[in-house]
Amino acid sequence: MAPLATVPVIKDHRALRFLTAGSVDDGKSTLIGRLLYDSRAILADQLDTLEKKAAGAPIDLSLLTDGLEAEREQGITIDVAYRYFATKQRKFIIADAPGHEQYTRNMVTAAAGSDAAVVLVDITKLDVSAKPLPLLPQTRRHALLAHLLRVPSIVFAVNKLDAVADPAHAFTTVRHALLDFAEQAGITVAGIIPVSALRGDNVTQPLDAAWYQGPSLLQLLESLPPAQERKDGDLLIPVQYVAREGEGTGNQPRTLWGRIAHGRVKAGDSVQLFPSGLSATVAQVRLAGDVVDEAEAGQSAGIVLDRQLDVSRGDWIATPQTIHEAQRFSATLAWLDTEPAQVGRKYWVRHGNRWVQARITSIESRLDIHTLDAIDAHQLAVNEIGHVIIETQQPLPVEAYESNRIGGSLIIVDPASNRTSGALLVKGAA
């Protein structure tokens, strides 16, 4: 894939949520600091604090992402932090995942729901004369995790171009190695961008060099599409909230609110409810306080049915005959809790808006997070990812995570501590 020669025109001005993945010394904090600084998201009093710290030297942009007092004391980053900046075209939300401690846990959290991932590659750590050029393990790990979570756009930012003797040659070599790796892993690359976060080269302003004619990192980010569930085909809505008109009890008309997982809905459509299996016709569609003709995937719609049926939070509304329920399914499990996953124990799981009890009936394998190869294993500890079989107390309308993030994702909660212990990505019925 050639670097993009021209940047496509943005049609969708929705905010872009992206995560940044990099290890401690890759310059991730400096890159984020640079994006915030150049887009003027840093304000004078925050700069004031940094200038005091610098005591006359150039300010350290990496300190802009400095977090909690508890983190400063220990010199580590504990948690995902969210940062905001905007250009005239786009609002951006950065999910900044720390690079070391609890890495997988934080990266999975940041990647769930992100539209894009920026994976930092520190070019000074690579031997560009080696053939074939070996990538660093963390680069593979970051890209593979983002791909596993189906982050729609994966971007490599090749950093520290200012610190290599022949940037043109170094970048070309690394670019080929990244493309080879991506092809083997089945990753579609949205862009490979050379940058110097320290100097600001090609971060927001395009690089002025004969060997690179592509966009700056920011120009590329501006052009990426927000994640979109499909709007055509069959309808699926998890019922989030059932609203009754007026006060008191009895048969008041009810509005079934829920964010449409896929498809679209309008008055007159036939629908089927899960788990009751009952059918009805849509009498009215609402958005916020208004009655509308139609609503589509991504919008929270209020559905009024033509008849009174017993529907509650956690139920699903769907095109008739399209729901495939399963009580036993295979899934990829990312374990997030310090207490290891326990086969046979009852956990709570949340799918859509429904909580049910569930068991991990078996752990089939663990993934080598540098290659995503399955290793024979029957245990999963914190920050590990594996293939498991799940059994639930009631059937659920699960879909493959690959085809739909809403129907295909679940969280596991420890019933004793209420901690969020795991994230499940559904593969299929088992």
Binding site: D12, H13, R14, A15, D38, R40, L43, A44, D45, Q46, L47, T49, G67, L68, E69, A70, R72, I78, D79, A81, Y82, R83, Y84, A86, T87, K88, Q89, R90, K91, I93, R105, N106, V108, T109, G113, Q240, Y241, V242, E245, W257, R259, R286, A288, G289, D290, G298, Q299, S300, R313, L336, W348, R350, W355, I406, I411, V413, N418, R419, T420, A423
Partner: protein, 319 residues
């Protein structure tokens, strides 16, 4: 200093799709809160962020009448912690809005906690901002609220940048930053034990600019002191301190009248206005695009004390 300012860099093309998306997310979170908890309440101070959340709540839970007015009642009460040092304009606005909308308002008075002895002031004019936590937690206990919805934003301050949308509080009302639950997709973990509660932040992903753009677009009513007015102020440590009975003139200072507006409204002892001729929300949008001082830095005396003061207050159970 900052990179050179150009208006082109700053001005988002005034396309409302990003506001629509923020609105959708906030309404989704509000409905989630009401559906998942038994005794919710909405924190309402009359401040701009809580006014925005109130409008979002109308959209989430009410339907429009023929005249375009929202009808019906919200499925939860509003909760305000009154320090007793609030600006009178804000209290007047709060009561008027609540009456117009026909909502229920629960007020937790700091004065009551002082009477009970659960709050002890070291001197009578001490800032009451930090003491709000006690009155807030007492109100939660008295009314058995299990979730409070609030207008906090992640762009306000770095301790807030790590805050979850659904943020767990233990039975002492404390925030445990190291024990935060990972928040994946929109599968919020809303499970709590008896005595614990949750805070829900529907406008987490909004910035100050988004808030003003939305106020302008939706014509959201705000207390008058958000807009330019003449006020007696004292210049103190780079801030404009409003002259009030709880922030009197100190030796060697003088009073002047300035054209000012408030960017945040909190306790009178620690909230300062900025000089501004902005009369409308749109004027403020234009000013916000040019602003170079962060919201809390310009207006809050209490946040200046230390780099970590918000984090400490949050751990103790602050908003």
């Amino acid at each position: 200093m900052n990179a050179p300012l150009t208006v082109e860099q700053l001005l988002p093309e005034l396309d409302h799709t990003h506001l629509d998306w923020l609105e959708e997310e906030a309404i989704f979170i509000l409905r989630e809160t009401v559906a998942a908890f038994e005794r919710p309440a909405l924190l309402f101070s009359g401040g701009k962020d809580s006014c925005v959340v109130l409008r979002l709540a109308e959209k989430a839970f009410k339907s429009k009448s023929g005249e375009g007015q929202y009808k019906g009642r919200l499925p939860f009460p509003l909760l305000h912690v009154d320090t007793g040092h609030n600006f009178p304009e804000v209290i007047e606005f709060r009561d008027r809005r609540v009456a117009e909308m026909g909502e229920r308002l629960v007020v937790g008075h700091l004065e009551d906690s002082i009477q009970r002895g659960t709050i002890r002031l070291s001197h009578p004019l001490e800032s009451r901002n930090n003491h709000q936590t006690v009155a807030l937690l007492e109100a939660i206990e008295e009314h058995r609220f299990d979730v409070l919805m609030g207008g906090a934003r992640r762009d306000e301050e770095k301790a807030r940048a790590k805050e979850r949308i659904f943020s767990h509080r233990d039975s002492f009302g404390q925030w445990q930053p190291k024990e935060q639950r990972p928040e994946l997709w929109t599968l919020f973990n809303t499970r709590i034990k008896p005595g614990e509660h949750m805070r829900a932040f529907p406008i987490s992903n909004w910035t100050e600019l988004d808030v003003w753009l939305y106020i302008a677009r939706e014509n959201i009513p705000l207390p008058s002191l958000y807009f330019a007015h003449n006020r007696k102020v004292i210049r103190r440590k780079g801030l404009l301190v409003p002259l009030t009975e709880v922030t009197p003139l100190e030796a060697g200072e003088s009073v002047e009248t300035a054209e000012v507006r408030f960017r945040t409204v909190g306790d009178m002892t620690c909230t300062c206005p900025v000089e501004s001729p902005a009369l409308t929300a749109t004027d403020i949008v234009a000013e916000t695009l040019k602003v170079t001082i962060s919201e809390r830095g310009a207006t809050r005396m209490d946040d200046r004390t230390s780099d970590a003061s918000m984090e400490r207050r949050k751990k103790e159970g602050y908003f």
